[in-house]
Symmetry: C2
Subunit: 129 residues, 2 copies
Amino acid sequence: MIDEVRAANQAFYDAHEAASTEAMSVVWEHSDRVVCVHPGWPILRGWPTVQEAWRQIFAGPHRNQFILTNEAIAVHGDVAWVTVDENLVSIEGGATVAATNVFARTDGRWLLVAHHGSTVVYRMTSDDD
Amino acid sequence: MIDEVRAANQAFYDAHEAASTEAMSVVWEHSDRVVCVHPGWPILRGWPTVQEAWRQIFAGPHRNQFILTNEAIAVHGDVAWVTVDENLVSIEGGATVAATNVFARTDGRWLLVAHHGSTVVYRMTSDDD
C-alpha cells in the first residue's frame, strides 16, 4: 500500500517536471474538496481552480526539476499523507520546498486531494550538530 | 462529524493562543507519523520533535492571536483535512498564514497528525475583481 502511495506521489512530481496538465489531471481527484497551496500563494480550492493554476504555471517560462529527499509516508485507512523535500534545481540556483501531499483512495486509486508547499528559510540548529 | 473536526481544529488554535504545551499535547496524536511545518521551517517529524518545537515557540516572547477565516473541512473515512487562513494579529502588524491541518480518527477521537503553515505573499488577480 505504501508503494502505491509512493507511486502516486512520484506521478505528481513527474507531471510537474513534464509541465503536463494532462498528467496533472490524472494525479488529482476532480472534486470540490481538493486544496492546493503553492509557496507564498493563498489557498486554492476545487479542481477547476487548482487545474487553472497549474495551467498558468506550466504556461510560464520556468521549468522545475526536482530532487526529492527526506520522504515519509503515513497511511490511515483510505488516506495517506506524504511529506517530502522538493529540492529545486534551476539556473537561478537552488531552493528547498517542504511539501505535504494528502492522497485519498477511491475505488482503489490514490488521488491527490491536498498539496501544500512552502520554501524552507530557516535551518534548525540541530541540523548543524 | 464535520463539527467534531471543526472542534478539534479550534482546539489546536486555542492551544496555540494560550501558548499551552499541555493543551497542544491533547490536540496532537503522539506518534512517529505526525508532521509539522511552520512557515519557513523544515519538516519536523514525530511527536517528541514537534512537541519540542512548540515548547520553544511558547517559551519565546511572541504571543500569537488568530482570526481564522476561509475555513473548509473535508472528511474521507477516518481522516479529515482542514484548510484555513490564520490571520495573525500582533503589534508588529498583521500577516496571513495559509494552513493545512490533517486529523486522523482513532478510537473516536480526531487527533492532529499534520500541520503545514505558510505565509501568504502573493495575491491572486482574481481577488481583485
